[in-house]
């Protein structure tokens, strides 16, 4: 492609809008930045030649142009915003409340929200944020970030490096801040220069022309923060690989020792104790709040021991060595060998075992003929008792309730409200008898039982819900977030300010440009030209006039 030679002699790349050296608008390219219908020049990228605005032949050019448009970028952001809103209309599948009558998403949404809920579910909005189209949307934002940044950064970098203090009049007069003054004395010129320097402007001079510039590095802010965002998006991809991310939810009973899922049998965990504490109701400070809202928990804690399994021979029972003995609390996870364990849930007062006694129905003293204990985590099907009695555990409902048909059933598999159907075989081989037994229930099916069972004793335990995980993608997210913050602060808290002062035989032309904070640059100029004969720049863009 042919290059464009400006009147000043500088050779600009094809597609340049404003000469890189003197800023003179290059004929035939003004439509690119929309300068043709405006008095003021569009200075966003200093009128540099951007690939997206220059080439539009091949399909790659077209895709490049499409994604490099800020308009497209903003539309992608708006689409992601609207999609995100849709996802909060009803709860996502993972946030279906635990107390919902039916947590099956196929039922829940229609049940709770009617026809709208049904549509929501059928469109897949109950898993919106992991849906393919949402992820594609985010990925497109990523593509747009990369292309936008490359399209602009390289030419802008070159242009800002090539700029010369001497500018064409048509460049200066079409800046937002501009003034023309009569020729000034050399002292005035030196004073302005000194004042600008004092204000930390960098001064470049060429044949009596002056360019004062500060905060150029803020122009790189957007590109830096985009790099940060790209790293975050890449980290999100890494996180979907098992090598980088694993998490498992595990329930451990007090006293139980189990292999930690997701560790390939390498680690075991033992729950020594689950502790739930509440805030002191007599604490004078909180008394009123606790009276209104009920007791407030102050601590969820599981005391655990983690073991590492050393397998000397494959297949042999592993030897367990304790490597960690610690307390896991909410907001205080524990770590071992790259894994972390978090306190997440708990279940209080499950039954560990129950001891029953057998006695004659008519015996008012209820003197025990025999006793037996059922381990509720591993109930046996048959119990041989003293004196020749035998009991068969015919049915076991760990979490007993009557279902919709009035039939006994178990709501969960956890022994929270155990109930049993026992068949009692007396030693004399008479007919076996059926007994139904639960907490607060003791039903004799026929009403003619000779023997009766009663609950003698029981033991209880708590259960801890723990999350075991590793996330090796975290450092990448951290780096991405840090770079984003640096970039966004660099771009937002500093501004790129430039002041041009060109002297010719007729007088002085002064113009200024900043990417934001015009109020600030005006104050800088006011300070710089104090006590000189130069005219204050005029703001050529007044919003008041438009309105």
């Amino acid at each position: 492609m042919k290059e464009v030679k400006c009147d000043c002699g500088h050779i600009n790349p094809h597609g340049t809008v404003l000469c890189e050296s003197c800023g003179k608008p290059i004929e035939g390219n003004q439509h690119i930045d929309g300068n043709d219908n405006h008095k003021l020049l569009n200075m966003r990228y200093d009128g540099t030649a951007r690939r997206s605005q220059t080439y539009n032949k091949s399909i790659i050019d077209k895709i490049w142009s499409f994604f490099s448009s800020v308009k497209v970028g903003v539309w992608l952001i708006i689409l992601a915003l609207i999609a995100s809103i849709i996802g909060t209309i009803f709860p996502q599948e993972m946030y279906i409340p635990a107390e919902a009558p039916n947590r099956d998403p196929a039922v829940f949404y229609e049940d709770q929200y009617g026809i709208l809920g049904l549509i929501y579910y059928q469109l897949g909005f109950h898993n919106l944020y992991s849906s393919l189209w949402y992820m594609i949307l985010i990925a497109l934002i990523g593509v747009s970030l990369v292309i936008c940044s490359l399209d602009r950064f390289v030419p802008l970098y070159k242009a800002l490096r090539n700029q010369k203090p001497r500018k064409h009049k048509s460049f200066l007069s079409r800046q937002r801040l501009y003034s023309e003054s009569d020729a000034i004395s050399e002292e005035d010129y030196q004073l302005i220069k000194k004042n600008l320097k004092k204000n930390r402007y960098k001064i470049v001079e060429e044949n009596g022309h002056l360019l004062a510039e500060k905060g150029r590095f803020s122009r790189w802010g957007p590109y830096v923060n985009h790099i940060g965002l790209i790293i975050i998006l890449l980290a999100a991809i890494l996180r979907s690989i098992p090598l980088f991310y694993m998490d498992e939810y595990v329930w451990v009973r007090e006293g139980q020792q189990i292999v930690i899922p997701g560790t390939e049998g390498q680690y075991y965990i033992e729950n020594k104790d689950f502790i739930l504490e509440t805030h002191d109701e007599n604490d004078e400070r909180f008394r009123e709040a606790i009276m209104q809202e009920g007791s407030v928990p102050s601590n969820f804690q599981t005391d655990v021991v983690v073991y590492k399994a050393e397998k000397s021979i494959p297949g042999a029972k592993p030897e367990l060595n304790a490597i960690l003995d610690d307390s896991i609390q909410m907001n205080a996870p524990v770590k071992f060998d790259g894994y972390s364990i978090y306190q997440q849930g708990y279940q209080l007062n499950e039954f560990t075992n129950m001891t029953f006694k057998l006695h004659k129905t008519e015996d008012a003293e209820e003197e025990a003929l025999a006793t037996f204990t059922v381990d509720l985590t591993e109930p046996e099907s048959q119990y041989e008792l003293d004196n020749g009695y035998r009991v068969i555990l015919d049915q076991y409902y760990p979490d007993y309730y009557l279902d919709d048909n009035g039939e006994p059933a178990s709501e969960t598999n956890f022994p929270r409200n155990p109930a049993f159907v026992f068949i009692v075989y007396p030693p004399d081989n008479t007919e076996p008898e059926v007994s139904f037994l639960g907490i607060g229930r003791n039903i004799d099916a026929t009403g003619a039982n000779e023997y009766k069972l009663g609950i003698l004793d029981f033991e209880m335990h708590d259960v801890s819900g723990l999350i075991v995980k590793y996330d090796r993608s975290l450092p990448f997210f951290g780096i991405g977030a840090a770079i984003f913050m640096i970039g966004v602060i660099q771009g937002m808290y500093w501004q790129h300010r430039r002041v041009w002062l060109n002297r010719n035989e007729n007088g002085v032309l002064m113009a200024a440009h900043t990417n934001k904070n015009w109020y600030g640059i005006k104050k800088d100029i006011e300070k710089a030209i104090q006590n000189t004969d130069i005219k204050m720049v005029e703001d050529q863009q007044e919003l008041d006039e438009k309105g």
């Binding site: 601590n299 808290y493 007044e542």
Partner: protein, 395 residues
């Protein structure tokens, strides 16, 4: 509870000082007309604002001393802090631009927020385990400061619209502006009606089915809408005119819906009274106040406050939030409604900042965006907490 009394008194004093400061900022309008230098009224106003801010800091610190945790853990505490952050944002931007008119609009908005906050239970409450972390302080205060600075862009955007929108005849733009102002009246209506019945100590208890259980709920306003299938328990209390529809989900849905109805009624009555007195649109009545402010300057302050607030919000609302979530729940991002709405806020202001690069998105369009942006922030504070409650249901 000596210290707690000091704390609430300090908050009250801060509120009063903001009120008086607003009046002084109002007095600067006349100053401006005669000469360009700062008058005495402006100096008094900003001094009072700063003393008010310090008084609110006293409230904050003493309450922290009483509870042992930074007072940002429930709706009252957080919203009060947001009001304080808005004042801080105003002080920062005033220090740079010295625009007295900003105080005339920013302080009343801050006062509405603080008064709104005190309608929620103000007792000091202990922290549940998930909130017991230093990240509570770090995350929540940073978010609030970010939102406070972004709030200034709303205030300035609103000023821009009041100044620039044509009020000669009724049109679409000034109708929308009037709706925004009307919404502010709804907040005032809520505050007035809630404090009146609180003062009268009105109580009515209802019983209603919640899931599989029977729950009770206490109304502090006479029930226009009772709970769905609710039964009034309190003798002598007004019985409801109708029931809250069943599709209002969740605990206390009836009481929240009832409060909403009352706020709309009271706000509408207030708005109606003001309209009857001034006999024109509120926007039209406010317009002359801003005659001497340059639209350009307003546009710039609005952009600046987004530029300053956006990084702070990102840091507090997304980055610190993620770090804490990782420590507390083992996942830094969980698509909880509050998190999603923080992301939506972020998307919105990112779009705003990109649009500012284009011609044609300065001035009025940009001012509308600033107003909508703060609308999203308030939505996240009010609707997400009270209606879409997720993990952040406590605040």
């Amino acid at each position: 509870m000596e210290l707690l009394n000091i704390s609430s008194t300090a908050l009250f004093i801060a509120f009063l000082l903001y009120l008086i400061a607003t009046l002084f900022f109002g007095a600067t309008i006349r100053d401006k007309r005669t000469d360009n230098k700062k008058g005495i009224a402006g100096k008094v106003a900003i001094t009072l604002t700063i003393i008010g801010f310090i008084s609110q800091l006293v409230y904050f610190i003493t309450r922290w001393m009483v509870t042992g945790h930074a007072p940002v853990s429930n709706l009252f505490e957080f919203t009060t802090f947001l009001g304080m952050a808005l004042v801080l944002g105003f002080i920062i931007l005033y220090a740079y631009y010295r625009l007295s008119f900003l105080g005339l609009f920013a302080l009343p908005i801050a006062m509405i927020i603080i008064a709104y906050a005190s309608m929620f239970p103000t007792e000091v409450a202990p922290l549940v385990p998930s909130l017991q972390s230093n990240w509570l302080t770090i995350h929540v205060t940073t978010v609030a400061i970010g939102q406070g600075i972004l709030g200034i862009s709303f205030v300035v955007g609103l000023m821009y619209l009041i100044k620039q929108v044509d009020q000669t005849t009724r049109n679409k733009k000034n109708t929308w502006l009037e709706i925004v102002l009307y919404i502010l009246f709804l907040f005032i209506g809520f505050i007035v009606i809630t404090s009146s019945f609180n003062f009268a100590n009105y109580r009515a208890e209802f019983e209603y089915p919640l899931g599989n259980q029977i729950a009770t709920t206490e109304y502090h306003l006479p029930a226009i809408a009772g709970p769905n299938e609710g039964v009034l328990l309190t003798d002598g209390a007004f019985s409801p005119l109708f029931e809250t529809p069943a599709w209002f989900q969740g605990e206390d849905a009836g009481s929240k819906f009832n409060t909403l109805i009352w706020s709309i009624l009271a706000g509408t009555v207030l708005y109606g009274i003001v309209r009857l007195i001034i006999r024109k649109r509120i926007g039209a009545a406010l317009q002359p106040l801003l005659r001497n402010v340059k639209a350009d300057l307003l546009d710039e302050i609005e952009y600046r406050s987004v530029a300053i607030g956006f990084p702070v919000f990102t840091l507090g609302g997304l980055i610190f939030a993620s770090i804490w979530a990782e420590i507390a729940w083992g996942r830094f991002w969980g698509w909880d409604p509050k998190e999603v709405w923080a992301l939506i806020t972020w998307f919105f202001y990112a779009a705003y900042l990109h649009l500012r690069l284009s011609r044609g998105w300065h001035g009025e369009k940009s001012a509308w965006l600033a107003v909508i942006g703060f609308g999203i922030i308030m939505f996240n504070l009010i609707v997400v907490n009270l209606v879409l409650a997720g993990l952040h249901s406590y605040a």
